[in-house]
Symmetry: C2
Subunit: 351 residues, 2 copies
C-alpha cells in the first residue's frame, strides 16, 4: 500500500526501464504511459479525446465503444465481485458518453486451478448485472493460463452503446466556466471495501462497495432534459484524479467545496486511521456531472429520488480558464489547497 519512494518524484517514462505497479494506478505515471507511449503509437483523434468511450457515427447514428479489463483482488468483496464490476464498469463507461448500452462482450483469462464454482458465481453475477441493465453479453472468449501466470480470473468487457439523437455531445470539451459539478453519491466506498476485505480489517459496520450500473440514472437525467456537459465516473484515482483530468482536457479550473463532498463515516474512519485521502479513493458507482448552474436544483431533485442518487450533492463549480489544470479545494476551515495528481494509486488492483 505504500509507494516506492521514487514514485513521489516521477521520472520521465524513458528513465523507467520496466513497468511498475503505478503505471496502472490511474495517476501521473499511468498518464505518462498513455501520453508518451500509447497515444503517440496508436495516434488517432478518438484516443486523443481522453473520454471513457470512443464516440463514432455510422448510418446517421452516434455510437459509443469502450473496453476495460478487470483485475480486482480479491475476486469477491462486500457489495460485489469481479463479474458485477466488469459489467457495471463498462456500462458506466458507455453512460459517461451519454450512450444507452446495447451489447457487451466478455473475455475471460482464467488461471489453471480456479474452482469451477467460483467461475460459475462470477458468470452468474455478470449475467444478473447485464440483465438488470437490459443488455445482452453477445460475444466472448475463454483463455486459460498456467498456475502462477494469472490470479484466479481476469475479465475484459467491451461495450457498444447508442447515443440518442437528442443527447448533446457529453464530453470534457463541452465543460465551460460557470458549470456546476454534482456527484450522485458519497465517495470512497469501493476502494475502502476492497481494502478492508484484503487486509482483513474488522470494521464495526459492514462497508460495501458502491459498485453499480449508472446507465439508468444517466438516461433518466437526459430524459428529463438536464443539459449535461460532461460525465466522469470516479474510478482509479478517485474524485481528485478525475477532476484534474477534466481540467486538463477542458483547459479550465475547478473550485471544490470540501464540506459539501459526501463521505460515509466508516470510509472517513478507515481513511483517518490509514492516512488515506478519500478524494483519491476509487469508486465504482459514483460519477461527477458537469452541467449549467440554472438546472442544478432540478438535477439534484432527480438524483435524490433515484436509488443511486440519495446522497447526491453539488460539490463545486468550474471557475474559468484562468489557471487551467487546477483543482482548488476550499476546506471547512476556509483555507484552500490545490489537488495534484498522485504518481500512482494508494491501493493497486482496485478494478
Amino acid at each position: 500500500m505504500s509507494q516506492p519512494p521514487e514514485l513521489n518524484c516521477p521520472l520521465p517514462l524513458g528513465q523507467y526501464e520496466r513497468i511498475v505497479m503505478a503505471h496502472g494506478g490511474g495517476g501521473q505515471l499511468m498518464q505518462q504511459l498513455l501520453d508518451r507511449l500509447v497515444q503517440p503509437t496508436f495516434d488517432n483523434p478518438y484516443l486523443a479525446d481522453r473520454h471513457d468511450s470512443a464516440v463514432f457515427e455510422s448510418g446517421g447514428l452516434r455510437y459509443a465503444f469502450t473496453t476495460d479489463s478487470y483485475v480486482v483482488k480479491p475476486l469477491f468483496f462486500p457489495g460485489g465481485d469481479i463479474g458485477k464490476l466488469a459489467v457495471c464498469g463498462t456500462l458506466n463507461d458507455l453512460a459517461m458518453a451519454g450512450a444507452r448500452p446495447m451489447f457487451l462482450s466478455a473475455a475471460l483469462i482464467i488461471e489453471e486451478g480456479l474452482p469451477i464454482e467460483s467461475l460459475q458465481r462470477v458468470l452468474e453475477s455478470m449475467a444478473a448485472a447485464a440483465r438488470a441493465a437490459g443488455v445482452a453479453i453477445v460475444t466472448g472468449d475463454t483463455k486459460v493460463v498456467e498456475r502462477g501466470r494469472g490470479d484466479g480470473l481476469y475479465i475484459n468487457t467491451a461495450g457498444i452503446g447508442l447515443i440518442q439523437p437528442t443527447t448533446p455531445a457529453i464530453h470534457p470539451a463541452a465543460v465551460v466556466p460557470g458549470d456546476v459539478i454534482l456527484i450522485n453519491g458519497d465517495i470512497g466506498r469501493h476502494g475502502i471495501a476492497i481494502m478492508a476485505q484484503r487486509e482483513g480489517l474488522a470494521l464495526e459496520t459492514t462497508l460495501e462497495s458502491d459498485c453499480a450500473d449508472l446507465s439508468g440514472l444517466v438516461a433518466h437525467l437526459l430524459d428529463v432534459g438536464i443539459d449535461i456537459h460532461c460525465l466522469r465516473d470516479l474510478t482509479r484515482g478517485g474524485l481528485a484524479s478525475a477532476l484534474i483530468e477534466i481540467t486538463e482536457a477542458a483547459r479550465v479550473s475547478i473550485q471544490l467545496d470540501a464540506p459539501a463532498i459526501p463521505v460515509n463515516d466508516a470510509v472517513n474512519g478507515v481513511c483517518e486511521i490509514l492516512g488515506f485521502d478519500p478524494l483519491y479513493v476509487a469508486n465504482e458507482g459514483v460519477m461527477a456531472i458537469f452541467m449549467p448552474e440554472s438546472q442544478a436544483s432540478q438535477a439534484l431533485e432527480v438524483l435524490r429520488h433515484h436509488p443511486l442518487g440519495e446522497n447526491a450533492a453539488l460539490i463545486g463549480q468550474v471557475t474559468g480558464p484562468a489557471s487551467p489544470g487546477h483543482v482548488h479545494l476550499r476546506t471547512a476551515f476556509g483555507t484552500e489547497r490545490s489537488l495534484i495528481r498522485l504518481s500512482g494509486e494508494q491501493l493497486p488492483r482496485i478494478c
Copy 2:
C-alpha cells in the same frame, strides 16, 4: 505438451472441480465449458449462434462485434508477436462474419517488470497491423498486475465491423450439402512456429507463423461476387476442430480429401518427429470457405492471385445431413477415418 490421461476420456464439467489448461484449448473440454456453463448463464440467441462474431442490426445496417484475449507465449515469435496477433485475430473474427472492420479496442494487462521496450515494440506492431487494415484503435485500457500474477503481457482486443447490404448472411447455418470447402493456404505454421520458438528447436528452415489479417481477402472475394456461405478461421484446435464445429452447428457431414490439404514440408517434418497431427495445429491466417461448387474455380483463381491465397486449395465438400457431426477424411491410400474433437489442444497458449 502431453495431456493428462483422464482428458482422453473427458468427464462432465461437473466432475472437474477446478479449471484445467484444456478448458482453454479449443477442444472438447472448452466446448463443454461453453455449452454447460457460459452459454446457459449468459443465455441469448447471439451467443448460441456460435459464430466468431455476434451480428446485430441497428439503424437498418448490420454490424459484427467480437472480442478475444491473447495470452500467447512467447510474446515475440517468428512471423509476429502478441500485438500483431491481437489485431489480426480480431480483424479475422470480424471478417469471418463478412464484416469490414471499422474500429478496434485494445486493453492491456501488463505484468510488473515488463521492459518498457517490449511494450513499445508490441504497441508499434499493433499500430502497424491496424494501419495496414485501415482501422483505428479508438479506445483502450491499461492494468498492471504484480510479478508472478501475469506473464509479461496479455492483450484483449474487441472489434466492430460493418456488413455491406449486399453481403449474404455468412454463418454456419448457411452451409448446405454440396458446398465445397476451400482453404486459402497451408496449415499448421502458426502452431509449429510457436512451438519451435518455445522449445528452441533448430529447424533447417525458418518457419514463420502465418499470422495475417484476412479481412482484405474476404472483402475481395465478396466484391467479385463469390456467394460465401460460411467462413471460419482455423485457430485453436486447427482445421479439424473448426470443421467439426461447423458440422455440429449446421447439422451436416463433411468429406475431406487429405492429399489436397496443403502442409508445408517443415511443418510436416516437425509434426512427424513430435507426433503432432497438422490437422489440429493452430493457424492465425488460414480460413475455411464454404461456398457453392459452381463458383469454386473462380474463387480459387481469385485466392491464388492474392498474397494470402497463393497456396489456396479445394480440400473437401459438404456431403449431406445423413451423419451430422462427422468429418470424414479420405487418405492418400484411399482409406477413410473420422476426425474427432481432441479434449484440449496439443500446445497451450498458442494465441
